[in-house]
Amino acid sequence: MSTLKLRSEPPERIDLLNINPLALSKMSEADAARIPVGTSRRGLTLGDVFSIALDGSDSLVIEGGSGRLDRVGASLSQGTVRVEGDVGQRLGAGMAGGSLIVTGSAGPFAASGATGGTITIEGDAGDHAGGAVYAAKAGLDGATLIIHGTAGDGLGDRMRRGIILVDKAGARAGSRMIAGTIVAGSLGAEPGYGMRRGTIVAGSHGALLPTFVETGTPDLVFLRLLARSLAGLRTKHADLLKGCMRRYSGDLATLGKGEFFTPAG
């Protein structure tokens, strides 16, 4: 297990785009220490920010997090990255495989454009978790994003594939959703604004849009299959689907092929 130990709170935002187990496995500690990670003219390197211990394994631990650590695990394709603390924006952006775990909280745009692997945030997530960054065609794109705490607004904005599990999220979850699945303990107002397809399940929710219409409480095989697939990820989310679910169809302002489920009771 390789380790990066944060020396102190970074004086500027740090970009860890190219710091992953695969890249570090081919490097000496001296070479790794010279990788530029700063974002100002001061030219900070990995060795300036972290004390480094590498063993060539496919597992990397970042000890001591900071909200200024951007793009942690971005473009990860294999192996495991574990952050003991917080991270900044674009956690796991563009990730294709492997496992990424954050014990603290994440900044905005976590898992944006991630096509594979599992990203787990044990604390809270900022706005647009699983959402698209500026000018991107899609947000989450096939990966699995699990948030134990609360996510901000715009969860899964423009997501195209994959699953998001979250305890609680803010307004407009699943906005402009192209496809994919969001399962939440509770959601804020106006979920699914502009969604074209996809599925949102919420234990409770804020105000629904006038462009979502109720379509009854059908007993769908799909929901049982979804519950079964979620059981291996988080039992509490799978349990949400056990009772009778009320279905809404939307957003009728767009294609209207999205669906929103909430307990009928």
């Binding site: 500027e12 700063g38 974002t39 100002s40 003219r41 200024r68 500026y134 849009l209 006038p210 462009t211």
Partner: protein, 358 residues
């Protein structure tokens, strides 16, 4: 031209030297406002490139509401002259379009070209102020947001919702247009509303011709957008910390940079009127402001330098909203004041003399 350093009156050279010292010592300086003529904004981008600063225009929120939608799905747009000349149906969304004289000019005239030439023009409003100043048919939105109302209307236009509701009537009127235009302000309806509005226009164009006329922001945002594009290849919120222009609307949001303690110096450029950010006195800062403006006072920032106002006490190229282009406006007063571009160039020269890391 007046100047102040730490509250005391100073000559311009001393203020420029103090500004150069402040910026050359900073790790992550931010340039905000950018409400000025093109030459001044270009000088700001050059200085930012030299010292690794980031830039964020005062027009940012409205500009990015428009750009976000444009980048994701394109836009169907037209101009004010085309609207006046051809439109037989005009939908005014929100309150801000009613602030200027464009809507009343449209309401008081008829189309003179195209299929509707000579016909009466229909002016409709969605979520407007209902002030009755111009002839129009008003559709209220209740407590809904403008972006929700636009989505609701779009569902009727698509035929996904039907009924006797007002939105049904409005959708019918829009579909009956021969040449329709929607006037809106992207900053008022937001990125989601702008994208939904463009989707509405695409749906309407399945049946007729309908276009958007987005209002320019009042802070030179569209000029800054063009300048940023030809200078960096990016939209305006860029940072030069890594010797190349990186575009990141979240990271280079000036208010966020200051609130999270990441910026350690700021330069606020507003030779034309722009709202002063409330964070300006929270960090070492330089304000380059129009002479005789409310901000031309010693407590605006640590260093304050007053400059000529384009179109008044100085000439300069600025955004012409009606024509939709950048155009030159000459000084109207007899005495031509020093320009913001000149002051920024002097600051840049001083920094080069100091040999600041760049």
């Amino acid at each position: 031209m007046a100047a102040w350093v730490k509250g005391d009156a100073a000559d311009t050279d001393a203020a420029v030297a103090a500004a150069a010292a402040l910026l050359s010592a900073a790790r992550t300086p931010v340039f905000a406002g950018l409400c000025a003529d093109v030459a001044a904004v270009r000088a700001a981008y050059r200085l930012a490139d030299r010292i690794g600063a980031s830039l964020d225009p005062a027009a940012g929120p409205g500009l990015y509401a428009e750009l976000g939608s444009l980048s994701s799905g394109g836009a169907l747009t037209t101009t004010a002259p085309e609207t006046l000349g051809r439109a037989d149906t005009v939908l005014v969304v929100g309150s801000r379009p009613w602030d200027g004289d464009l809507v009343s000019e449209i309401a008081d005239s008829k189309p003179v070209r195209g299929l509707s030439a000579g016909e009466e023009r229909v002016v409709l409003s969605l979520g407007g102020p209902r002030n009755g100043t111009s002839r129009h048919v008003a559709y209220g939105i209740g407590n809904a947001g403008l972006d929700v109302a636009i989505g609701h209307l779009r569902a009727f236009v698509r035929g996904h919702l039907a009924g006797e509701e007002a939105y049904g009537d409005l959708a019918t009127r829009l579909a009956a247009a021969k040449f329709g235009v929607v006037i809106y302000d992207a900053g008022e309806i937001g990125e989601a509303g702008t994208e939904m509005l463009q989707g509405l226009l695409k749906d309407l164009n399945e049946k007729t011709r309908f276009f958007a006329l987005g209002l320019a922001d009042p802070f030179q945002g569209r000029a800054v957008m063009q300048l940023a594009s030809w200078t960096t290849g990016q939209a305006p919120r860029v940072g030069f910390g890594r010797h190349l222009p990186e575009h990141d609307p979240w990271r280079f949001d000036s208010a966020r940079l200051v609130a999270e303690g990441e910026a350690d110096a700021a330069l606020w450029l507003a030779s034309l009127p722009a709202p002063r950010p409330d964070w300006l006195t929270q960090l070492p800062s330089i304000a380059i402001v129009g002479e005789d403006s409310p901000e031309a006072r010693p407590d605006t920032a640590e260093i304050v330098i007053t400059v000529g106002v384009p179109g008044s006490s100085a000439g300069g190229a600025v955004w012409n909203d009606r024509r939709g282009v950048i155009g030159y406006v000459p000084a109207t007063s007899g005495t031509v004041a020093a320009t913001a571009a000149g002051v920024i160039a002097e600051i840049s020269k001083k920094i080069a003399e100091k040999g600041a890391s760049c």
